[in-house]
């Protein structure tokens, strides 16, 4: 099992030019505190929406891979979006960082999750697997998408990093600027 920050860094090292959509709570805060970048789009709320928003970005003809960084709780909240994501064959890698807990609300255990990789394959994802180590993560073939990568992680031992200092509007502006998209679509 991985430290969640090591898992995030390893995904970023594999997919340095991708667009990232991160789920609310500590995952957004970890990604922000590891390396804030304009191609990171942080959700501060809307739990369960990282997948759908990532799908929308991927379908907007951005010619970039989209990586969704989901948690186990936020993934469990919206399993219904999986077949919709699969249907449109986006260039999207759906990462589930699974430490079995809602950590930002006090570490309560998450609802039963089943097998995320099996769920994704049943929904029609082109590829899906579960990994426990950096070596397995590095060895993954992410050619075929959408792909789901379920990463088993340890509960956090580090303090939650700073909250995102940019306003939501600033996050939108710089993400759009990075894409060359108009201010008002």
């Amino acid at each position: 099992m991985l430290d969640i920050r090591d898992a995030i860094k390893a995904v970023q090292a594999r997919e340095p030019s991708a667009l990232y959509v991160t789920t609310c709570g500590y995952i957004t805060r970890d990604v922000y505190n590891i390396a804030d970048r304009e191609n990171n789009f942080y959700l501060v709320g809307s739990m369960g929406m990282a997948g759908p928003i990532g799908l929308g970005v991927a379908l907007a003809d951005v010619a970039r891979r989209v990586v969704v960084l989901d948690g186990d709780g936020s993934f469990a909240m919206n399993l219904g979006c999986l077949p919709m994501i699969a249907e449109h064959r986006p260039d999207l890698v759906h990462v589930v960082l699974d430490n079995g807990a809602h950590e930002s609300t006090g570490g309560q255990r998450t609802a039963a999750l089943g097998d995320p990789a099996a769920l994704a394959l049943a929904a029609g994802y082109a590829a899906a697997c579960t990994v426990d180590s950096l070596e397995e993560l590095a060895a993954l073939d992410l050619t075929h998408t959408p792909a789901l990568v379920h990463i088993r992680c340890l509960p956090r031992t580090h303090k939650a990093g700073d909250r995102v200092a940019l306003t939501p509007q600033e996050l939108v502006s710089r993400f759009r600027a990075g894409l060359g998209a108009p201010a008002h679509a």
Binding site: V21, F41, L43, V44, G45, S46, M47, G48, M49, G51, P52, I53, G54, L55, G56, V57, A58, L59, A60, D61, V62, N78, G80, C81, P83, M84, H88, P168, Q169, L171, V172, F175, R176, L179, G180, A181, P182, H184, A185
Partner: protein, 168 residues
């Protein structure tokens, strides 16, 4: 883009979106909106229709499209507004990534199936609570209604709602 033959309200609504460059439509059907969905499902439709499993997911997908520079519309029954309130309040209205919403109004006259009574009675109040501007589609003057609604949408600066009370 090819155009749709003018005629009924559904065609007017759809053509107005297409004329303004909307390319993606997502949502969950309602019997009051079936004319719109019929157009979206027809092979001639120049827009891309993305059926969603639930209304909040539709708002999420349309938000991602809009965030990344495409123009997207969400269609739903008013019952789906309840599911959508979290994404509307914790994404749409705080990130200012605004969408045009087409929402049917089941239960508007208190004489519909019982499951629509409460949301039907409260629909416009709910929209007012969240400061979402709305226009009711007038079947006698659909173009004027759509124009008023798109003016409220203000080129992407407000999340406005076109309410469809009578089936299109």
């Amino acid at each position: 883009m090819s155009s749709i033959a003018p005629g009924n309200s559904a065609e007017v609504v759809m053509q107005s979106f297409l004329d303004r460059g909307f390319t993606h439509f997502t949502g969950v059907p309602c019997s009051l909106l079936k004319g719109l969905f019929r157009i979206l499902e027809s092979p001639q439709c120049p827009a891309r229709y993305l059926p969603a499993p639930r209304e909040d997911t539709a708002v999420g997908v349309a938000s991602g499209l809009t965030l990344a520079g495409s123009k997207a519309v969400v269609l739903m029954q008013n019952s789906g507004l309840g599911y959508s309130l979290n994404v509307l309040t914790s994404f749409t209205l705080i990130y200012d990534v605004h969408l045009p919403l087409v929402v049917s109004w089941r239960g508007h006259d208190g004489n519909d199936a019982v499951e629509h009574d409460v949301i039907g009675r409260e629909l416009t109040h709910l929209l007012d609570v969240f400061d979402l501007p709305w226009t009711v589609l007038d079947p006698q003057a659909p173009q004027q209604s759509v124009d008023a609604f798109l003016k409220q949408h203000d080129g992407g600066r407000r999340t406005a709602v076109l309410i469809v009370k009578e089936g299109v």
